[in-house]
Symmetry: C2
Subunit: 427 residues, 2 copies
Amino acid sequence: MSQFGYRGKGLEFLTNNKIEVGSQVKIHADLVYSGVIMPRYEHSDDQHIVLKLKNGYNIGLDLDKIKEIVIEASPAIKKGSTYNAQPDQRLPKILLLSTGGTIASRIDYRTGAVTPALTASELNASVPELAKIANIDAEVLFSEYSENLLPEHWIKIAEKLDSYARSDYIGIIVAHGTDTMQYTASALAFSLSGFPKPIVLVGSQRSSDRPSSDAASNLIAATRFLVNSHSSGIFVAMHNNSSDEEIACNWATRVRKNHTSRRDAFKTVGGPPAYIIKSETIEKDKLFEVPQREYNPRIKFDNRVLLIKYYPGLNPKIIDYAIDSGCRGIIIEGTGLGHVGKTMYQAIENARKKGLFIGMTSQCIDGMVRMTVYDSGRDLLNLGVVPLGNMLPETALVKTMWALANSKNSEEATSLMNENIALEFSD
Amino acid sequence: MSQFGYRGKGLEFLTNNKIEVGSQVKIHADLVYSGVIMPRYEHSDDQHIVLKLKNGYNIGLDLDKIKEIVIEASPAIKKGSTYNAQPDQRLPKILLLSTGGTIASRIDYRTGAVTPALTASELNASVPELAKIANIDAEVLFSEYSENLLPEHWIKIAEKLDSYARSDYIGIIVAHGTDTMQYTASALAFSLSGFPKPIVLVGSQRSSDRPSSDAASNLIAATRFLVNSHSSGIFVAMHNNSSDEEIACNWATRVRKNHTSRRDAFKTVGGPPAYIIKSETIEKDKLFEVPQREYNPRIKFDNRVLLIKYYPGLNPKIIDYAIDSGCRGIIIEGTGLGHVGKTMYQAIENARKKGLFIGMTSQCIDGMVRMTVYDSGRDLLNLGVVPLGNMLPETALVKTMWALANSKNSEEATSLMNENIALEFSD
């Protein structure tokens, strides 16, 4: 059995010392730590207890190193009670929309539940700094780890955001798992192009068992960005480096999760982030400009698109499979400047004859697809493959799903693919 | 018609001025340039001529900006003649094996031919610095752009290299196109694990039309590495940054082409390159050690492996296609720590029941796959998906082709996949 995520030795330690999650304690170990006992999460070990320090960091303390623990105050809020946040009505209003992921489940430390349900008062209680920056309403849209999100979830998120386009919120935070955050960001960038407020997707990379959680710092930075940047459009805010003092606000279509676990996993590819949010300032990249477009929500996606990464020995029948399974588009992650081996040509020609859109990106990730340099590229251009410049493969995939769903025919879809809707093409 | 790759206005300019490719000239343009007229390559424009400066750089000069051109010397070597390189027999012997690609075609500037045929004397003539470092024999294995290479080409290269394992060459350079160089490097690392000499794959990123070609500097650095490093195993030598003075020698299984066009496109993922070759020194990374293995050539590949990059909306039928088309293995590029959506589980289970090996890597590229952290990972582990640590997806793909071909059954293949053969797993 477990309680607040504690089990085994950890639970025993808390029970023996009559300590509840939420208690204010002083712990003597290698150093003396003061803070609030935090819940653990599913499947954590039973050798540590987690303490939220006054500076906002969570640390995990090894039970074997604890010499003494003193209760300084009982939990301020009892399980299930409502925290009496006192919103300052003079502050700007923002909405926090939760879709799930580590960030949403972690934040709920008072109830100890693993479910990512998140209310406004719970949020204010867990990151009290937020209430000093903005009046935050929170809403749970769904509670999924982002690897389980599908294009239909993108549609739900986009429709919800669209319903707030003309609201009195000055901006919206979307709490989201990090696994597919870049795909959702692109989906919102296309379906909500020209959105009149800033929308920031925020995730967290580190579980509460680790010394420092990035959830609070990312949320605080995102809130400050919404309140102070006077920007608009879709962004992803995550750590810029190993410090808590610098959060990068990356433009949706140009960001990629480039590391499995680092807090600064998300990087704007091929350039600096659009904004850097530091403790005192928000710095805009000189070259970054939010595209000025009329707000034109087109919230449809057609997931009949196959992403194929080319490699030596790839069986060209994969293209026949795409045709046979009803795909309307193929995004190729080619090699180098945008190539595939000659063995693929015939199958590509067949797919084009069947009317499939075929777009070329590069598995190099960074740099431009340029298909006029070598024979291989020109051959593919002649087959009707569309070069997609420096559009990221993941962005190109999402855009193809969007373009196919929002156009009457293949020509119109191709035309949308070549149009720079949301900075998916850049210099 | 074209001559030495020159056509139109460029050819006219050379003809009118009685200048041959190979001529030593002085050109007055914005500045005064002295150097040797180089050939152009297929599909270059007719507005520039290319000059090899004394410092080794190639520059393209705009015909419209040339005020005067003075012939200082006729070509040292006539078309088709043999260059009288005078090899210094005291220098160590190395072999240069050419497989094609930009580097091999570009180097052949005296004959002007686009075919990547390369002889020792031609090589010495085009990069005279090499003859001062080593006695170089050159051999043309085939002449393909690397996007057209297949696992059967890996086998040809590996068998050729194997035939020189006990030769008096102290090391071997493989000139190779950059598009799939990392795949070939991995293929050699597995099939020739424990190779007793250093093998360096060398490519070039910039066509001769560009101001600075990286072919010569990469070749010189690779030659110096073979002669001086006392290393062994398979490496990829390319620019480390934008300077010609620093060439990175990356370990085969940990390198990736991360940019479509930059000269320093190749990066060791998750750490520094194994060696940095500077103008005076060769610096080994402190943590890098060549794995000490008995030489055990196992030169077989089975290309019935499908690489699947997971994304929201991916049709799980792709797995059924893999089964139906006779695949023996699947490498998944999952999200984050190694996840796919629940929609894929049933198909993955089916594939496992049919005996397919399924390995998990991350599309984040950098960082470790860790499938015990979240439910999604544990679910996949329970289905028999094999986590592949920080093995690069491309390396994992090649390794699976190799492991399946060099094992008697699925268990043996899985065991090979989990064994650290060539530093494909690292810390």
